[in-house]
Subunit: 333 residues, 2 copies
């Protein structure tokens, strides 16, 4: 295993120590480094929390900061945090206006966030939830509730975070997140496995000339494994899945996220984006917001995903708003 | 070769197309996509240009933007751009106050930037140069002029860019860059090779349990190849090389850049930073600015480098200033 680490058991907590030493804008509560929160909560603002397994940086905790989220409960690598950890985060970030949970559609996370919601209710904290399920490869149309949440959750964070900064109520922030969810689609492709530190070897095998379209960010099965093609036909095939589901009309606006899974050079993400932009231009769809880089990774996995948010005026405004976290910075436009 | 690309010959130009499609703040001159410039130069400001081979994103062009650089000439993967390309960038970014070149210490770049300086002189554009040579592994003390420029050039860009935004003269901006250069040291470690698209196979071999301390960002030989150790003793060994050269006294301030070479997860960079911070704290040195992520890569190479800038009051102020490029965003503090 070629990793920079000490004892694999300490991987997550030493990483968290590094993050806290690097950034005074974030801290932790309940004497538990895995209960990660913004150091200065904003009185009266709706709190937004997320959570999930480690190994996906900047997901999840990387989006805690101004204009985005207020806290995140962090689990071991690819493991859900506990309901108690989520509750501690919730109690800290509640500033009297309630708390919205935004997290990905995974069984462990659902169980724990649901339990945290009940525990918060006993503390008289009102909690609503929006569950990201943007991965079009993980189930068919009509069964969207079975789909995994992947990189497109970024758009939910961005929209809800900006809405909360604008002073919207809990119900309004949840409405915005739900709308962003309904209008977000993601498709990914993996070229290599990742290595979980405590396991020390690749999670799965993939041939030297193979790719897997639709693989999940924990290595879950995709929809097809085949020989790696050139970038343009690959993007065409990926985008067909997205175009089949969202009716982007001429003149519509979209936000695009081209996400690297960890081991793919930034250069290649721009080559993928180039083709995505061409396909949008052919349809006369306006690419109004673009983010390209690593936004939701699987450790050192080689691969990429494309997420598209179908904008309306409100989402367009919220995408343009300022965000400033240790891992994500966006100047207002 | 597992890469997202079309014809490898078009790798650089398709990547550039993607960048221009994604960002309206940058453009190109002389009808040559490799002559990359800020779309709106600021009248009267000293222009700052860099240049070098592709394959290192966000180096080099990624630092073109507000508070950083004004232009960059871009070569093929790991190849220097031409003197003519540098001249075209220089002509465009000169706003009457002259141009500073900041680039890394590589033979091809030196030849071409020197020639561009002569060509610019014939056009009555005053040019000064500062050549980054921060890699302590690439030559001994007393022969610093033989050292390669690596990730620490980021500090030169940041300092000079902020100085230029403040309205300093060409000579003053060059003085600031030269000072940042004198006070910057970098040490790297590589765990795997990268693959140049037109070659299609790893540039070198390295054993499954080996690391090479001091390897260059094009795979140049380092100072020792041995079995990969745990992160903390590795950082201790790396930092010894830096501590041997710069006299950081109790109470001094430093800026730290922990840079991933492309294939190393962000989580691991924070584990490395944690130990760097511990070593600085033991010496009562104040870590005042921290950047952790991918700042100068070698395609998909696994590995990392640590750069330290020994601050003074002026450099501290310049590090804190706003920067806003498509690849690097920093809110003023």
């Amino acid at each position: 295993m070629k990793k920079f680490l000490n004892d694999p058991k300490n991987f997550v907590d030493e990483m968290l120590e590094g993050i806290y030493l690097a950034n005074s804008d974030v801290t932790y509560v309940n004497d538990d480094k895995r209960c990660y929160v913004k150091a200065s909560p904003k009185p009266g603002k709706v709190g937004i929390a997320t959570g999930g397994g480690s190994g996906h940086l900047p997901l999840f905790l990387g989006y805690v900061g101004e204009g985005m989220l207020d806290g995140a409960a962090v689990g071991g690598v690819f493991q859900s945090p506990s309901a108690e950890q989520m509750l501690e985060v919730t109690k800290y970030i509640d500033q009297g206006a309630g708390v919205l949970y935004i997290y990905g559609n995974y069984t462990g996370d659902i169980i724990n966030f649901d339990m945290a919601t009940e525990l918060a209710d006993m503390e008289d904290i009102k909690v609503l939830s929006v569950v990201g399920n943007d991965d079009v490869a993980s189930s068919v149309v009509g069964e969207e509730h079975k789909r995994r949440g992947v990189a497109g959750i970024f758009f939910l964070y961005k929209a809800a975070g900006a809405a909360s900064e604008e002073g919207m109520s809990l119900e309004e922030v949840a409405r915005v997140a739900e709308k962003a969810k309904d209008r977000t689609r993601t498709i990914g492709v993996a070229l290599s496995s990742c290595v979980i530190p405590e396991i020390g070897k690749p999670s799965f095998e993939i041939g030297a000339d193979e790719m897997e379209i639709g693989m999940g960010i924990h290595g879950e099965n995709g929809i097809s494994r085949k020989k790696l093609t050139a970038a343009d036909p690959l993007v065409d095939e990926m985008m067909d899945k997205i175009f089949a589901e969202q009716d982007y009309k001429a003149g519509d606006g979209v936000a695009i996220l081209v996400n690297g899974l960890g081991g793919t050079p930034l250069e290649e993400l721009y080559i993928l984006f180039r083709r995505v932009h061409q396909l949008m231009s052919e349809r006369k769809v306006n690419v109004k917001h673009v983010w390209i880089g690593e936004f939701a990774t699987s450790m050192e996995m080689a691969g990429a995903s494309v997420s598209v948010l179908h904008l309306d005026d409100e989402l367009d405004r919220l995408m343009a708003a300022k965000a400033d976290t240790p891992f994500f910075k966006h100047f207002a436009k």
